[in-house]
């Protein structure tokens, strides 16, 4: 494990392996890049095995298999076993579509540590509408398999205006399924979520009601279930400590082998990110321009540069700064010290007006991705 605590700083702790952007679902809030259809070919099994080994040697310990739908890779069993052999704590982040008894048995034997299953809603109707599929019953089947194979039940439900009023029913469904952990993750406005933002942003009143319902539910179930309620940062006055700082703990490898400090960073202008086909992960982490550009705080402008909170929130999210202000080195406009903060409050105010003026909803699918890849990225 030489080089794990390199003189140049600590290595990554979390490795996110985005195995594929292919997905049987078409979720309107998906954070995958909208132009995924324009990306290159997926990495081979051998490439991924090398990435896992190099990541572990750098000190990464948490490993997420994600996508897209990672179950669409038929080498997932090989990668799971490799990860366990290397000492990773591994997590399969899945819609559950494609999970069957043969595969989950292989994952268990290979040493996969846990499975995070997503639901779109507590009802078949809304789940199937939001994912533009008929998948609710398949997800229930996947949930039963996860229990049968003695995995901790970790449910993830992305919240937004169209389902946030169902939080009570969603939590009851989670309880019936025997969930030990529930993440009620409000949509983050990246990728497809950003395209559909006007349709997805809840109102402050919706958010407060959902939070109260969640709190009452927590009090009823006590320690049996751990429930995380992630507030959308558009409603905050200080930005999130995005990725715990650029190039600090988090490393994503995209399906085509591009290495990224976060899964959305590819959108940023004037930056090239290395590919694991061409460079070793250590050189990528420590030496590449892409990983060094926003590391530390030397890149910061005012109001971040002289802000006492810069060590706490790292100026927020570079992608959000870019999407909302046009310059990734600006303060994340979620911060009310940002001169662009009104862009966030305007979006929240716009959401109150309801659907009348909103754009039609755009489902994540290959045709829409090709169309969006031809346009430049949306900025305000």
């Amino acid at each position: 494990m030489a080089g794990a605590n390199d003189a140049r700083g600590a290595g990554p702790r979390w490795l996110l392996a985005e195995l594929t952007y292919r997905c049987p679902l078409h979720c309107v809030f998906c954070y995958n890049p909208v132009d995924y259809m324009a990306h290159g070919a997926e990495l081979s099994t051998d490439d991924w095995v090398r990435v896992l080994r190099e990541g572990r040697a750098l000190g990464a310990i948490q490993l997420g298999f994600s996508g897209g739908e990672p179950l669409l890779r038929d080498d997932l069993e090989v990668l799971v076993a490799e990860a366990r052999g290397l000492g990773y704590y591994s997590n399969l982040i899945t819609s559950g579509i494609g999970l069957n008894e043969t595969r989950i048995r292989a994952f268990k034997e290979g040493g996969l540590d846990h499975i995070q299953l997503s639901f779109q809603d507590s009802t078949r109707e809304v789940n199937d509408f939001l994912s533009s599929t008929r998948t609710f019953d398949l997800k229930l089947k996947a949930a039963r398999l996860i229990k049968d194979y003695d995995y901790p039940m970790v449910l993830n439900v992305v919240l937004h205006r169209l389902n946030i009023d169902h939080v009570g029913q969603i939590l009851e469904m989670a309880e019936k399924l025997g969930a030990e952990y529930v993440e009620l993750a409000n949509t983050q406005y990246y990728g497809w979520g950003y395209v559909n933002r006007d349709r997805l942003l809840p109102t402050r009143e919706q958010l407060e009601r959902a939070n109260e319902v969640t709190q009452r539910f927590r009090e009823r179930v006590g320690g049996r279930m751990r429930i995380f309620f992630v507030v959308p940062d558009y409603f905050e006055s200080r930005p999130k400590a995005c990725m715990n700082g650029w190039g600090s703990v988090f490393l994503t490898v995209a399906p085509d082998g591009t290495a990224l400090p976060c899964h959305a960073a590819r959108m940023l202008p004037g930056l090239t990110f290395p590919n694991v086909r061409d460079s070793a992960l250590g050189a990528i982490w420590y030496d590449s321009e892409g990983f060094n550009r926003y590391r530390g705080d030397a890149w910061m402008k005012e109001p971040c540069r002289s802000c006492p909170e810069k060590a706490k929130d790292f100026g927020g999210c570079r992608c959000q700064a870019y999407m909302l202000t046009g310059d990734p080195a600006n303060a994340d406009p979620v911060c009310d010290l940002s001169p662009d903060h009104h862009r966030v409050t305007d979006a929240v105010a716009q959401a109150r007006l309801g659907d009348a003026k909103a754009q039609p909803i755009v489902f994540r699918d290959n045709r829409n991705s090709r169309t969006l890849a031809r346009k430049s990225l949306p900025t305000t």
Binding site: M1, A4, N5, A10, G11, R13, L58, G59, I61, Q62, G87, Y89, N91, D113, H114, Q116, D150, P152, V154, E180, Y181, E183, G223, F228
Partner: protein, 102 residues
């Protein structure tokens, strides 16, 4: 995250006669990159302090608390550890990291 020392002491659920084990769905392992024992679980990780690591690594589902304390006091002679170990084990129990049986 280190084991916080300022926590209010929970009711003692783990006593000298108990045999503690690491809870299902948690994994304890030594991380050379962090020179520390870490406890891994869904959605998180706790980096244990040196003393917490010394206690946790001795929990194997077969060793009783009394013997565990004796072993620690042999490894670190001169220290009276009984109270500290019991307090740690009970805090760990309250967090769901370990379970006890008699």
């Amino acid at each position: 995250m280190n084991f916080p020392e300022s926590d209010v002491l929970p009711e003692m659920k783990i006593g000298l006669d108990d045999v503690p084990e690491i809870s299902r769905h948690f994994r304890l392992q030594f991380e050379p990159a962090q020179s520390a024992w870490v406890l891994l679980y869904p959605e998180g990780m706790v980096k244990l302090s040196a003393s917490a690591g010394e206690i946790m690594k001795r929990i194997d589902g077969g060793t009783g608390v009394e013997r565990l304390i004796h072993d620690l006091e042999t490894t670190f002679p001169g220290a009276a550890l009984r109270q500290d170990v019991l307090e740690f084990l009970n805090a760990a129990h309250q967090r769901g990291w370990i379970r006890g049986r008699r």
